[in-house]
């Protein structure tokens, strides 16, 4: 049994997702044919043996709760532990810059106080990854660490533009400096980029909350950075694929990456599964006119048209003669005969009537809002 409970900050919003995050937090944006972005953080924790997980929710939490229910599909419907909803305080703010706001934790102090475990694993809810944290938990214990920050070593090629915090480490991987990207000249940045996942002693976290709650909106990482001299802060490296979704370009590119076998192997084809809400759709039906190439297709679809380099979510109907290229079609969309889409993202339940042609570009994919009828 793992000696940690989890907290996922599922309350970060974004104004750069062009309507996909208009009425939902990033964590609840559908991704990869049958998942929501949150599923990746949640499944990684569950697969690491964590069975008590608190979810910091945003103002618009209906889509999150709709997806999660009592947490049964993640094995979190339990007597001992389970899924806890922690209402965040940043109710009105969608452009919240803080990742781990202390106020959000203070508001839910009870969740941290009533458990007996040693450690708390904290993750943001807007990243795509499949990481087993068991090794990190072991290491944290062996080193008697106060805080363990998970980081990824960057070769310049796959530098994630969204990451803001970089770590300087000594030979023992103890963190000697925590850099904020904005405060450092480009070349001096450490290659070790913090991936917004950390492990902290529960008692220490409670102390921090008590001491800093009067500061209002202050980020846990800021506090750790300031106190790194008195705390035992270690880094734990991960080589797993991990990507943050903040802009529509991130969303489109990371989705299309899934058509690459290497990416799917790292995310889905290993031992640890990514769990999601199960809806028991029937298998997807292909008619004799269907033509599908290099695409991911979820269950419950009826496919009579042409699909190339695309991702099709659950319960989509593609009529004969329609042509879907380089597009992402979310659940329950209906594309009528002879309609076409290219470089387009259709949010849920969009209907595109016959002969319409929707065309975006690779750098600026076209986004059609939920339930739009065209």
């Amino acid at each position: 049994m793992s000696n940690a409970i989890g907290i996922i900050f599922a309350n970060s919003g974004s104004d750069n997702l062009q309507g996909l995050a208009l009425e939902r937090p990033i964590a609840a944006v559908p991704f990869g044919g049958r998942y929501r972005i949150l599923d990746f953080a949640l499944s990684s924790m569950v697969n690491s043996g964590i069975r008590t997980i608190g979810l910091v929710t945003p103002h618009q939490y209906r889509p999150l709760l709709d997806h999660l229910g009592a947490g049964k599909d993640w094995f979190l419907e339990r007597k001992d532990g389970g899924l806890f909803i922690l209402p965040g305080v940043m109710h009105a703010l969608t452009g919240n810059k803080h990742t781990f706001c202390i106020k959000d934790l203070e508001n839910n102090l009870e969740y941290l106080q009533k458990d007996f475990v040693e450690n708390v694993l904290i993750s943001s809810g807007d990243q795509i990854f499949n990481i087993n944290f068991r090794d990190t938990l072991e290491e944290h214990k062996d080193k008697h660490a106060d805080v363990t920050l998970i980081y990824k070593d960057n070769n310049n090629s796959d530098n994630d533009p969204n990451s803001e915090i970089f770590l300087e480490l000594d030979e023992d991987r103890r963190v000697s400096n925590i850099q904020d990207k904005n405060g450092v000249e480009g070349n001096d940045l450490s290659p070790s980029q913090f991936v917004n996942i950390l492990l902290i002693r529960r008692e220490l976290l409670l102390e921090i909350i008590k001491k800093y709650s009067s500061f209002g909106c202050i980020d846990l990482m800021t506090i750790i950075a300031v106190n790194r001299g008195v705390l035992k802060v270690f880094g734990s490296p991960t080589s797993s694929l991990i990507s943050t979704i903040r802009t529509i370009k991130d969303y489109y590119d990371r989705s299309m990456d899934l058509l690459n076998l290497n990416v799917r192997e790292q995310l889905w084809l290993g031992v640890d599964r990514t769990h999601t809400k199960i809806v028991d759709n029937p298998p997807t039906k292909y008619t004799s006119k269907a033509k599908v190439q290099n695409s991911l297709i979820a269950s419950g679809c009826t496919i009579a048209g042409e699909v190339i380099n695309s991702i099709v979510f659950r319960g989509v109907i593609l009529e004969q003669g329609c042509r879907i290229q380089n597009s992402i079609i979310m659940p329950k969309c209906h594309i009528y005969a002879n309609a076409q889409t290219n470089f387009t993202i259709l949010d849920k339940s969009v209907r595109v009537h016959g002969e319409n042609v929707l065309k975006g570009s690779e750098s600026h994919p076209l986004v059609i809002l939920k339930k739009t009828v065209i």
Binding site: R34, H275, Y286, V292
Partner: protein
């Protein structure tokens, strides 16, 4: 509060030997059907959709995979504090106990279970039929007719009538005659193997049957004819939907293939009467650049690089480049490697077909089981093997 109005006894212990390689390793109700389902999903979902929350599942033959699939029944919303799914294996008592000897004997041996819930009605179901049916309609009919035993019936084509238990009814739908597999049927109304009994009638009937040493302890063969002789009120409820017995390779194959036709009666896509199942979690299926899929059902977790025509791929199937799968049923986790050709074949779960094999043939070439080839679960077919149409291939042990 444990008394229930109606509980179900689900007969799931049969060997299903006529399904050959498909039931070598598992009980028939646990055999995969129509891609993502297993045969028992239909009956369990019918119970849920009919508000029957207490289901006793009678098991005997190779029960492990079936038991672990059913679990607590939560996949069908059948886990609830007042009732739920109960797995009922054969057991020993202080002085007696034995294997289940016939369907009626299985229920007889579990009478303590029925008494515990003390139901007014007991519905007897079979775990090897594929159909969607709301049992509440049948129960309403049973009450309206003040019936003691009601049989669900369906009209079958005349030429097939001699394969079924055939009923003759009067104008009030009361059954006057019941013949198991008659050579010359005088009706085409067949019993579906679904019975509603009044609780007290069932108990008397089972005790009487237990005392009869000539009886084969079977509901269709013994209990129903005997109760008719006793002039009990036995009625026939007519069911108009889709119903298939999938007890043979041929009928299993046909019922699967029917689901590929448009306007299919079973309509698994109907959101108002959903069929639930206990599936493994998989990512969406991936269709590669060299793939071509026509008129087929494809499940989650498949990776397809070859041609799939008029076929069903269950979850987690891998199909390599240059493979052709036509008119076939591919069960969960099967791997078919580069260049193999599969025609009119059922590939058992976890079977692996190495490259450049040819299995089966197009059309009804072989007289054996309509030319349908069957490969047993977990069998590995070596590279370049040619297997004729209509063959049953078993694992060597």
């Amino acid at each position: 509060m444990k008394r229930q109005e109606c509980i179900a006894m689900l007969l799931a212990g049969g060997q299903g030997s006529r399904l050959g390689g498909l039931t070598k390793n598992r009980a028939k109700p646990a055999v995969s059907f129509c891609g993502k389902y297993r045969i028992i999903d239909f009956t369990l979902s019918n119970c849920t959709n009919s508000n029957i929350n207490t289901v006793g599942v009678l098991i005997q033959y190779k029960p492990f995979l079936l038991n672990s699939y059913i679990g607590l029944g939560s996949a069908w919303d059948l886990d609830n504090p007042f009732g739920g799914v109960h797995i009922l294996p054969p057991f020993l008592g202080e002085t007696e106990g034995s294997w289940y000897n016939g369907t009626a004997n299985a229920v007889y041996q579990n009478y303590e279970f029925i008494d515990y819930y003390d139901p007014e009605y007991v519905i007897i179901l079979s775990g090897d039929h594929v159909y969607k049916m709301d049992y509440t309609d049948m129960l309403r009919f049973h009450k309206e007719k003040k019936s003691e035993i009601t049989l669900a019936t369906i009209q079958v084509p005349w030429e097939e009538a001699s394969r079924f238990g055939i009923l003759t009814i009067d104008t009030d739908a009361r059954i006057t005659k019941f013949t198991e597999k008659p050579a010359e049927p005088d009706s085409n109304l067949a019993s579906m193997g679904v019975y509603i009994f009044n609780g007290s009638t069932l108990k008397q009937a089972l005790i009487a049957d237990k005392g009869d040493y000539l009886s084969q302890n079977d509901f269709g063969k013994n209990i129903i004819p005997h109760q008719l002789k006793q002039k009990k009120r036995v009625y026939a409820y007519k069911f108009n939907g889709y119903w298939r017995d999938v007890g043979t390779i041929e009928s299993y194959y046909q019922a699967n293939m029917e689901s590929l036709r448009d306007g299919h009666f079973l309509n698994i896509f109907d959101p108002k009467f959903r069929i639930f199942s206990n599936e493994d979690i998989f990512p969406p299926h991936f269709v590669g650049e060299t793939a071509k899929i026509e008129n087929s059902l494809i499940c989650n977790g498949c990776i397809v690089h070859g041609n799939i025509i008029n076929s069903i791929l269950a979850p987690g199937v891998y199909v390599g480049e240059g493979v052709e799968i036509k008119d076939s049923i591919v069960l969960p986790y099967v791997k078919v490697h580069k260049g193999s050709k599969i025609y009119r074949t059922i590939l058992g779960e976890n079977a692996e077909i190495m490259s450049h094999c040819i299995i089966g043939a197009e059309g009804n070439i072989s007289p054996a089981q309509e030319g349908i080839a069957v490969i047993e679960d977990y069998h590995q077919v070596p590279e370049g093997t040619v297997i004729d149409a209509g063959m049953n291939v078993y694992r060597s042990r």
